[in-house]
């Protein structure tokens, strides 16, 4: 295992975050704060509490997940796409590193950034609404698994994308609808039966529901099922990457 190489890639990527502090940290924090002000405080005060949890507190886990998904996919994809775009990837491909080590470096950094931002948002949320965490350990497991899984997913997009439009299409067009329709802002019990059934095909529902359970012990689906779904998605991402590394798809001709 080329530990020096993993460290180099990891810290090189983390340095990018420090350099682009405004864009990588402050902007998601501001965006999420706006959600809290509008949905949590202004509108939320007129919405009745859901299963005994005030609306502002109810949406907090969903908002953290929304940011975590967007950030991890974004960081994971740009981390590998940018060297491909500038051509500097030649150096990593000609270095004595295995693809798994490259993956650990890039995905580790992307997931770390996502986690840091997720925790900052959790701290921000506590200024606006009451937060209680019933199962901190479960919460941490969900947070880390989701961060890793979606950073892997981002990495796949970064390898697949041939231009900036393709790079942005998933985070911009796919993630927000899934998150908004995945019960971030409501319990799916509020939906008509047909849409409840449809919601069960949305992977984000399982993430948000399980994550919310770790806070307030209320859930749309069984938390174990949630955990299983995250594990399933993780396994899918890993198998796709296994295939990519085996064939050299869009990396080595």
């Amino acid at each position: 295992m080329n530990v020096e190489a993993i460290k180099s890639i990891y810290f090189f990527e983390m340095a990018r975050m420090r350099r682009t502090l405004l864009q990588s940290v402050i902007s998601p924090v501001i965006t999420t704060s706006l959600y809290f002000i509008v949905f949590g405080t202004a509108i939320g005060s007129r919405i009745q509490s859901i299963e005994g949890v005030s609306y502002g507190s109810f949406i907090t886990p969903g908002l953290i997940m929304l940011t975590l998904l967007t950030q991890c996919i974004g960081n994971g994809s740009i981390g590998i796409y940018f060297p491909k775009f500038t051509g500097t990837i030649y150096e990593i491909l000609s270095a004595p590193v295995a693809m798994t080590e490259i993956l650990i470096g890039y995905v580790g950094a992307a997931a770390s950034k996502g986690l840091i931002i997720g925790l900052i948002i959790l701290a921000t949320a506590s200024f606006f609404v009451d937060i209680s965490i019933a199962h901190p350990f479960v919460m941490a497991v969900f947070l880390v698994l989701t961060a890793v899984t979606f950073s892997l997913f981002g990495f796949i997009i970064g390898i697949w994308a041939k231009n900036f439009e393709q790079l942005n299409i998933v985070p911009m067009l796919v993630v927000p609808p899934l998150t908004f329709l995945g019960g971030s802002f409501y319990s799916i019990d509020m939906l008509p039966p047909f849409w409840q059934a449809v919601s069960h095909f949305n992977p984000v529902l399982y993430l948000v529901s399980g994550f919310r359970w770790s806070f307030y012990e209320i859930a749309d689906v069984n938390p174990l099922l949630s955990l299983g779904m995250v594990g399933l998605f993780l396994a899918i991402c890993l198998s796709i990457l296994g295939w990519i590394f085996h064939t050299g798809y869009r990396l080595r001709s």
Binding site: E4, A15, G87, P96
Partner: protein, 308 residues
């Protein structure tokens, strides 16, 4: 001398069916400077890319220091430094960071003293805190060389190192190459500039159409293939060549004022002496004579022309 890179019957066919390499055999000796010449699209970059691990071979084998480049990639890639043809840089990084990164990604522990000496050798020390996008093209080229040297490679590949570089910088790069050779580094460079191969290489290989047309010591190559031409400026123009001169490979210039004699570098002396005495016998006088040896460039053009 032991060969440090051994390329055996290497072939590469890209996904779109393009046959970039059609069976290359090449032994690169330890400590030499080998220049690979060839027109655009000849397969030079593909060859280098396979040795460095950027492209997978379709067939054949490459050994570096006795290790297989595919199976034992960790050993082979640790030995190799690569300076790519394109000026690809992380625009927003500093010179210091990007060179240190190169060292780390090759699995070497940080060594600020070494990075410092590499930067100083390449006259980059003053720019160490500059972002790469602030540097000129020539400076970026040096940064790429510094990155390739940061992990102390034993073999250095330079893919067209002096493309788009001014004359002074080119001379400086040649000096860098010379210093590296003194330290025992094996250097393989591809180039369009024959002058470059002529100046610094020990051996020259010519690649075209995915095949290695020849590989030869530079001086031997010049001697073997270098045609010489003797030009005699005549005192009085001739209308036709006398029959007695027909055994010699002679041509008369259009105005009849000069005689041109072509001969192979090796067989030189004999034919000229007898030609001159024959001219004297025929009472043909000349007022001046000059000889010209064809350069590597002529050799190259002739070789590539034959192929096409």
């Amino acid at each position: 001398m032991a060969s440090v890179v051994s390329i055996q019957n290497l072939t590469k066919t890209y996904g779109n069916g393009f046959e970039a390499l059609k069976g290359i055999d090449l032994e690169i000796e330890e400590g030499e400077i080998l220049a690979l010449l060839g027109p655009n699209g000849a397969g030079k970059t593909t060859l280098i890319s396979i040795v460095c691990g950027l492209v997978n071979p379709s067939g054949g084998k490459v050994l570096v220091g006795g290790y297989d480049v595919v199976r034992d990639f960790r050993q082979t890639r640790s030995m190799i430094g690569l300076v790519p043809q394109e000026l690809t840089t992380d625009m927003f990084e500093t010179v210091w960071n990007t060179v240190s990164f190169s060292r780390g990604v090759h699995g070497k522990k940080p060594n600020p003293e070494l990075v410092e000496s590499v930067l100083k050798d390449l006259s980059l020390w003053a720019k160490k805190d500059n972002m790469l996008r602030e540097l000129s093209g020539g400076m970026k080229r040096r940064v790429l060389i510094a990155k390739a040297l940061a992990h102390e490679p034993q073999i250095l590949f330079l893919d067209e190192p002096t493309a788009g570089v001014d004359v002074n910088l080119r001379r400086e790069m040649w000096q860098v190459v010379e210093r590296l050779r003194e330290n025992g580094v094996t250097i393989i460079l591809t180039t369009h500039y024959i002058e470059e191969a002529e100046e610094i290489a020990d051996r020259v290989g010519v690649i075209n159409g995915g095949k290695l047309l020849l590989i030869e010591e530079k001086t031997a190559l010049m001697k073997k293939l270098g045609r010489k031409q003797l030009r005699l400026e005549l005192a009085e123009p001739l209308k036709i060549l006398p029959d007695s001169l027909s055994p010699y490979n002679l041509t008369l210039s259009e105005d009849g004022a000069a005689l041109l004699h072509e001969y192979q570098g090796e067989e030189g002396d004999g034919s000229i002496a007898s030609l001159l005495s024959m001219l004297q016998a025929e009472n043909i006088h000349f007022r001046d004579l000059s000889t010209r040896q064809s350069s590597l460039e002529d050799i190259f053009v002739a070789l590539v022309g034959e192929q096409a």
